[in-house]
Structure formats: C-alpha cells, structure tokens
Point group: C2
Chain length 298, copies 2
C-alpha cells in the first residue's frame, strides 16, 4: 500500500492505460462535483487514457446515467458508463446465453428493462402496472411460464407483495431458474440519510430459498469480467479508483487489478492505517482524484 | 418418543390438563376439517380439559380467527385463540412495557392493529393508505418521532418501499427502538402453492441492520411464555399438539412442555424414524387427532 502525495508519487498512476472510476464519493458527492475531478478526467483524456465509469446503480440505464454526467458538465459517452443494470443484461445474454424466446422476471425499475431490451432479452414484471400495485396476491392469478429462465432483482421503489410472490413461483417451479441480483448493497446514501438498496430487495427471496442470488455489481467480479470482455482490457494496465474498501477496492482486488482509494467518500484514514484498519488493502491511497491535476500543472 | 396407536396408549394423554393445538394440518387442511378433529375436541371438553389454539397467523386478530372456527363448526371462544399478533401485542405491553404515550410502527395488517389497540398501544403504518401506496419514498417526507419505540413486522400483503424505508428510519434513528417480528415463517401454504410469509417481510431490515428481529411466534418461546402468563398454565400438565417438527414440536420443547406430533400435515414418517429422521423429537407420535375419539368409544 503506497500513499501518493507528491506529484512524483502520483505520476506512478500514468503507467496504467485504463482507469475505472466509481462515481459517488470519487467524482461527486450527491449533486456536487468534487473539486478538481472534472479537470483530472480531462487531464487523463489528454494523456490518451481510457476512462470507464463503474456504478452499482441499476435503476438507471447507461443512457439515463449519461444525462447525470451532462448535468454535472463531465464529458462522458454512453459506452464509457458501466452500470450494474447493463452488466446484468450482458450477463444474461453472454453467460446465461438466454435466447430470444426466453424471458426474465424483473423486480426492479426501468434501468434494467432498457438494458435488457438493448440486449434483445424479453422480460415481464418490472414497471408493469399490474405488478406495481400494492395488495394481496392469489395464486389463481399466476400462470406457469417455463420460458422464464431467470429472476432479476434490483432496487425497486415499486416493490410489492405481488412481485415477490411471482418471482418466488418462477424460482421454485421453473427448474434451473436463475436468481440474479444487480448488486448486493443493503442501502444507498440519500441526501438526508439511508434508504433500502438493491440487496434488501432480494432479501425476502434469499430468506425463503435459503440461497443467495448471483450478484453482478461491485464488489463481485462478474461486473469486472463483463467490462473486461466488452472493452478488451488488459488487467495489468487497469486501475480501479474508488472511495469504499468493501465495494470498490474489494472489486478491484477480486478482479485482479490494481486499486486506488480516495478519501473523499466513505473510507476514513483509520480504515487504512492503525490498529482498526480494514483487511482490504488498496494498492494506492490518494487524498482526492483532484490531486491528479498536480501532474498537469507540474 | 412413544408411538400412540392403541386406545390404551392414547389414554396416556389424559394426564395433561391443557392441550395446545396448532390448527392447519392438525384440525384442518386448508378449509377442510380433518376427520374426527371436531369430535376429538368435544371429547376433551367433556373431560374438562383446557383447550388453546396456537397459530402463527398474525394477519387476523383473535376475533377474526374465531370466525374461521365458526365457519368450520368448531366450538371455540376468543380467549382460547392465541395468535402471534396477540402475543406480539402482549409482548409490547408486558415485556417492553410500552406506555400510552409510546407508539409502534407496523409493517403488517389489521390483525396486529386490532390486537395492539386492545392492549392500548398506539401505532402508525400498517393499513395507513399513505404507507400502503407503492412508489418512491423521499426522506423529506419523514418526520422524526422519538415516541416510536418499536417496529413490528408481520405478513403484509401491502408491503411497500415506503414501509421498509420508514421502519428503517425508526430503527436507525431512535435509540433502542425494538425490532420485532410476529413470527419467522418464510412462507405460508396457500391452496395452490406457497406464498411469502412474515419472516420474509422482515428480511430486508434484517439484511440492512445485520441483526434479526425478536421473533414472537412458534417456534420461539416468547409466545409460550405469553400463553403461560395469561392463562396461568402448569407446564408439566400442558401438551402441544402439532404437525411440524421445526415449528410446533420445537416450540413445545423450547418452552419446556411435552409434545405430540400428528401425521396429518407436514411431517412424514421418515422425519421421525429411520436414518434421515430429524433431531427434533416429540414426546409422542399419533396418526391423527381423530384417534382421540377412540377413547370416547372405548
């Protein structure tokens, strides 16, 4: 673990070709840009570095996420944004090899639907108004559908008893039906506190089935495998930059790439040094991505 | 473990004063009475035995549950019915010692509300139409309320993101806020299959908080403690009769009373004898409660 403080230290990072960025806590906090983040990204682009944004947020498609970058004035293309909804859709098409006649049942929102459509995968549930209505569910209303080969669970603000019940039927009745979560974050940080995250949406099914879903997003290596496959990355030349040891840094370590922790988000100095430090050790520790701008100035 | 087959065997049971009956799988299956069940109960009443019906179903109050008995033609008083909603309310008033100025937040249905009202405990959530509406929840809408001393979670067919979000706020913001589940059944048997049960409703909060709720219903001894306290039972003279080893029989064992397994519900012969038998051993095994009628005839 190396602390990067001087411009000379920081220039070490230029040996990497590709930079994977977590967003919240690294590039922005809520809706406010971290000072120097925009300039740091511009500098890396000048150096012909490849930039990829890696987010667990599955409620937005890449297209929708791109808009957030636009609003904040950060240059980004849709292809550079890698969300867990997209990774989940890619996982369905390439790893599960779902066919045009197959379907998935969604507990989740439009982000997953848009990405599945882009991969040519049919779905039910999700934003279907019938499934989004709170109220009792009777099994008389359930029709067996062996074409449903997977249940995908992401953050769903329209979670209902109907959705949990239907997902359960597919998982117990359809032999080999896959149980997939976009990510296992238990909560997500809102402006005024924490709210239930994608991982807590799959918790009822996990409890019933006594098995966990295959989780796609950070820190699981599935998402990195998808990025590497789609972008043809050389892992030895790729660096993951993030603010959370348990998700971002673990994600890099599990995926076999080097990592850099920044201190502008969740991780605190005592998490990386001292008696109570985490077992998860990043390759580098840097104060903020804004420090990369020192290289441009030096 | 004794198998009760002859009238002489079965007459052993008459040494008990109080008979706790699980209902589904013991007295009825769905909406159909088990042959002889009604007559067996009548015989026990003739013998001046005390009868108590013990159910984990928290969606119904004792009053509502009594109606089911009436429809099936089984004699029962409201005082003889002991549901997990009632036990939860009793737990709040006697163990947690909640005061008239305290409140609880409910993820659950009218059964819990009615029983809490009967115990003089104020509540929010539950059947409140605002909380039963599917859709996003913003923390701007949340008002801190330190009077909320507990969150109670039971089966809720109107489960919403709002309810999980609000329950979470109380549990993390109100110091010492109790986290209570009516029971931890992951599913319940419906006519055409299984549907998510009370335990799966608390699973999102368990996942987020990394701690389990205090669970009141079978197999946890809290419910038996409530029954014993309210009915002044002598545990040595009390027998629990049920069809499930993991809930009913475990419930009796944990509560220090004798148990009798019947084979008209979930448990199968191989669960009690042979190489794959369960570790949970009832005091007695009987084919059906209907066999008690043999005593009346003998």
């Amino acid at each position: 673990m190396a602390y990067l403080t001087t411009p000379e230290d920081i220039s070490t990072l230029l040996k990497y070709d590709t930079f994977l960025f977590d967003c919240d806590g690294v590039l922005w906090q809520g809706d406010v840009l971290i000072p120097g983040a925009k300039e740091a990204l511009a500098f890396l682009r000048e150096q012909k570095k490849r930039i990829i944004f890696v987010t667990n947020n599955a409620t937005k498609s890449r297209k929708a996420y791109k808009k957030k970058f636009d609003v904040l004035g950060i240059e980004a293309t849709e292809e550079e944004v890698f969300g867990s909804a997209y990774a989940t859709a890619v996982y369905c098409s390439t790893v599960l090899n779902l066919q045009p006649t197959d379907r998935v049942y969604i507990i989740g929102m439009s982000g997953i639907e848009e990405e599945l459509s882009a991969e040519g995968i049919q779905y039910t549930g999700g934003s279907d108004p019938l499934d989004c209505r709170a109220g009792p569910y009777e099994l008389d209303a359930f029709t067996d559908d062996p074409s449903v080969k997977a249940v995908i669970v992401g953050l769903d603000q329209y979670l209902t008893y109907t959705k949990i019940s239907k997902a359960l039927q597919y998982l117990v009745r359809n032999e080999g039906c896959h149980f997939i979560a976009t990510n296992d974050d238990s909560t997500y940080p809102a402006k005024l506190g924490i709210l239930p995250g994608a991982g807590s949406m799959s918790a009822p099914l996990t409890y019933i089935l006594k098995r966990s879903p295959v989780s796609i997003g950070k820190p699981n290596k599935t998402m990195l495998d998808c990025i590497v496959a789609k972008q043809h990355l050389d892992r030895h030349k790729t660096l993951m930059i993030g603010d959370r040891l348990e998700t971002d840094i673990k994600f890099g370590i599990e995926g076999g790439i080097d990592t850099c922790l920044v201190m502008t988000g969740i991780a605190k100095p005592e998490d990386v040094g001292g008696p109570n430090a985490s077992d998860i050790k990043p390759t580098y520790v840097m104060r903020t991505v804004g420090d990369l701008v020192q290289l441009a100035d030096s």
